[in-house]
Assembly symmetry: C2
DNA sequence: CTACGAGTTGACCAAATGGTCAGGATGATC
DNA sequence: GATCATCCTGACCATTTGGTCAACTCGTAG
């Protein structure tokens, strides 16, 4: 009864061996998830390693054993979130259909916030605090990302496929609107009186945003 | 030379008398402003009384003398921000012109974020963290505010003055878009490469948002 | 001069902070 | 059975945290 197979199913964790690095992998995953929640809720300074450890169900020393220090853990989480974001929308081209691209953008951004609400809030908290760890990323990679898309939007404008609007502000509009439902979930729930945002809600919101933004920019589908 | 009139002009603050409560008023103002900055940047947990005191140029003891404790100071700031928000948009009626009302809403919300960026970020940080201090406000006052406006929007829809869109989500759209420029200022600056958002920028953004959102909702002005 | 209310502040406290470290546990390899 | 790499963790540390307090300064009112 008190053999190894039981400790196998009860989380605590095997020491030593376990052949490969399975223990490490599992524990790191557990810690990263816990940390994402805690950092998202309290911000970098407000989060404590102790709180993360408790959330992960491990001693503080163990968290530090795997992650080195608080700063490293935080940066690692930010990088993970940036990677998710980068994998979001492939390159687009002038030849693509504006309506399709914008809808896909809204939809995938919405799903990113939906699938990783804690990561989304973590990101938001970092930027709220002046982005001390993300300056480089914002002024580099992300800026490139935005500008290449903006150039395509401009060409669409020239070809009369959409109204002349500043494409960068359009991207911010989409960003903020989609981000809102993850970051300000507490506000949305409080005001609507719901106790969770359902998949149906997400779909309706996505369609609402798509409808309003496409129409608002006078986007003409190539198919028409 | 080392008489009183000098210490009068050098801020430190008069002790004793000063007749009325002018000292109190001035110091409280100073502390509130400093606290707003610090709380906005680090969140409730992450902000320290010491940091607030340094920002205000006072000893920690003095801050606590005026504000009692950290929690009270924080709540007071939230209440101040809520008051600003409540004073924002008067009651609206079905008889008003939808285009005027929406534009006024966007414009005044934008200016609120512009005039009080720290307060705006403070609010955002509070909600990001799950709104532990604001649950009541969100489920009460603010919910009422939103719902009375939503009802007017619905009546406009019935009268064919705008497209049938969920009015609550429309309000969130406007909220998020305007909030973004204060809360995510670091992101906006990083991506655009500017080093501040000018008054001209604000005006252009306001016009962009008005244009896109009004058109996107098919808002008909009564004047037409 | 005295008394008083308002303001100021360094010293102090228990608790929590991020982080280190030594010592131990465990299974795989030789 | 010895060695090794991995993992685990309680004890510990200097620093910072929010908050208290008593001693002080000062102008004014009696």
């Amino acid at each position: 009864m008190t053999d190894m197979t039981e400790t196998e199913t009860l989380q605590p964790a095997r020491q030593g061996g376990e052949s490969n690095g399975a223990t490490r992998e599992r524990n790191e995953r557990e810690i990263l998830e816990a940390a994402e929640r805690v950092f998202a809720q309290y911000g970098y300074r407000g989060a404590s390693v102790q709180a993360i450890a408790e959330e992960a169900g491990l001693p503080k020393s163990n968290v530090l054993y795997y992650m080195g220090n608080k700063r490293g853990l935080y940066v690692r989480l930010l990088e993970r979130m940036m990677a998710r974001w980068n994998a979001l929308l492939d390159d687009i081209s002038v030849e693509d259909d504006p309506a399709d691209v914008l809808e896909a953008f809204i939809r995938s951004k919405m799903q990113l916030s939906r699938r990783h609400p804690e990561g989304s809030r973590l990101f938001a908290a970092e930027i709220l605090g002046g982005a001390p760890f993300l300056q480089e990323y914002l002024r580099g990679e992300l800026r490139e990302w935005v500008q290449t898309r903006a150039r395509v939007f401009e060409q669409w404008e020239e070809r009369g496929l959409m109204d002349p609007v500043d494409p960068v502000w359009l991207i911010f509009l989409i960003w903020s609107a989609t981000q809102h439902y993850a970051d300000f979930e507490a506000q949305v729930l409080g005001i609507t009186g719901k106790d969770e945002i359902s998949d149906d809600d997400v779909e309706r919101i996505t369609q609402f945003l798509t409808q309003v933004i496409l129409k608002g920019c006078g986007v003409q589908s190539r198919k028409d």
